[in-house]
């Protein structure tokens, strides 16, 4: 589904990703872990197409398409979803209006008929319920006045409504209390654990992986993947720390 080959990217002319390669197939859940400053968030933003994140080498192919040839909204329409570590507040724009227009913009670009108001609300209510979010919150301005946990749950509701093929979730677990973590984890499973979908979880900690069991765990350090393994690698990292595991690889 996603094939990243020798990706190099800079932020403000500073090289952050230095030859990252990763292949994600349909039906797989991958986790990328790594210390602060390793380039985890940069990977998410670069794949999402955020301005200021410049690709200087390598490639990323998403279902046969050159991802870097596509503008951010075209990547979304192609089935990519980026879950933000810090979801942005947009005063005056309601979630319902924003998400309905987004869903219909994606459908339009795929040649599908738009959702009617009623169809959309039914879908939104179902996904909000999945994340145990009050539908009234979606009538409020986008993320304005939401707590950290509510913002992350709202990200998952958006994912449910937009129904992507690949979700890149940047530290969805940060800022969540124990219950919200479980709700989000279960939401990710319900929405994305399917044979035709895939997930890339970007995280510091093992705790989200208790709920969303990854098929592959990768360690990102200094802009490259330095070690890959199964779900047990995350447990080892938690126990021994990044430094020990990364050094063992270098030796």
């Amino acid at each position: 589904m996603l094939e990243i080959n020798n990706l190099q990217a800079t932020v403000a002319d500073k090289p952050i990703l230095k030859g990252l390669s990763l292949t994600i197939n349909a039906g797989e859940i991958h986790a990328i872990m790594g210390p602060n400053g390793a380039g985890k968030s940069t990977l998410g933003y670069t794949l999402g197409g955020r301005p200021g994140y410049e690709v200087t080498g390598g490639s990323a192919t998403f279902n046969g398409q050159d991802l870097f040839e596509l503008a951010p909204h075209e990547r979304a329409a192609a089935g990519l979803f980026l879950g933000f570590q810090y979801p942005v507040e947009i005063p005056g724009v309601s979630f319902v209006q924003f998400l309905r227009e987004s869903a219909n913009a994606q459908r339009k670009s795929r040649g599908e008929a738009p959702l009617s108001g009623g169809e959309f609300l039914k879908l939104a209510r179902e996904k909000a319920g999945l994340l145990r979010m009050d539908m009234d919150m979606l009538k409020r301005p986008v993320n304005v006045g939401f707590s950290g946990g509510e913002k992350k749950r709202a990200e998952m509701v958006q994912m449910g409504i937009l129904d992507p093929k690949l979700a890149i979730l940047d530290e969805t677990d940060s800022g969540l209390d124990i219950d919200a973590l479980r709700v989000c984890g279960e939401g990710i499973n319900a929405i994305m654990r399917k044979s035709d979908k895939a997930v890339l979880l970007i995280t510091h900690y093992q705790r989200l992986l208790d709920y969303v069991k990854p098929d592959f765990v990768h360690v990102l350090a200094a802009g490259r993947i330095v070690k890959s393994g199964g779900a047990d690698l995350a447990l080892r990292l938690e126990e021994e720390g990044y430094e020990a595991v990364v050094q063992e690889t270098a030796a």
């Binding site: 909204h73 990547r75 979304a76 933000f84 724009v93 987004s102 869903a103 937009l162």
Partner: protein
Amino acid sequence: MNVEMTLPSRKDEDFRYSDIEALRSVWPIVTEEIEVAPDAEGTLEIVETGAGAVARHVAITLGKGAKFDLRVLTAGPAYGRIAVDVKLGENADFTLGAAQLATGSETLEVVTEVTHAGLNATSAQIIRTVLAGASVGTYLGRIAVERGADGTDAEQSVRAMLLERTATANARPELEIYADDVKAAHGCAVGELDAQGLFYLMSRGLTPPQAKRLMLQAFIAEAFTGAPGEEALSEAALARLEAIL
């Protein structure tokens, strides 16, 4: 009726940023006088969406305890000038919500003079300007609080959004206060659309014009919140917004 006969020049502070040639075509401006009796309420909508030059001058006098709600939408004229003078008596209340949308080489301006002449009067002005191309958008707003007009509460919120670096926004809020117990808050900002917000919206599938339109719609809506004709005003603004994006 007071009609100024001589065409002003840009040396005149109130016409500092005007398109004088366009102004000539609609000169002289006849002042529209509105008087609101004590404890009465009035509303007015000024909607200018035609392409021709337009200049209006409205003078409103509010009696004791009178209320007035004025909404302005200038979206379309090559030159659009809306000048408003308001005189508030004791306990009077004045609300102005104005939105200006321009593109190309259009020049739009809102010029206000709000005079608090009695005790405890309140006034609130919200001005939202969206400028594309090489357009010019101006707000000149003077608040005068006369001697003895204690308890005055006067607010100005002025924001302009530049869609292109070639557009120009002028904002000049002015306070002239001769009373002691006065609240006068004014905020003024000229900026561009928040890039982070735009990326967030586009990452969900909105095209760049859709994302901008959604953010600007919310920005303009602030000028029409609570207006009797809120919905129609917002729709008229949206139509122009879609044309200039």
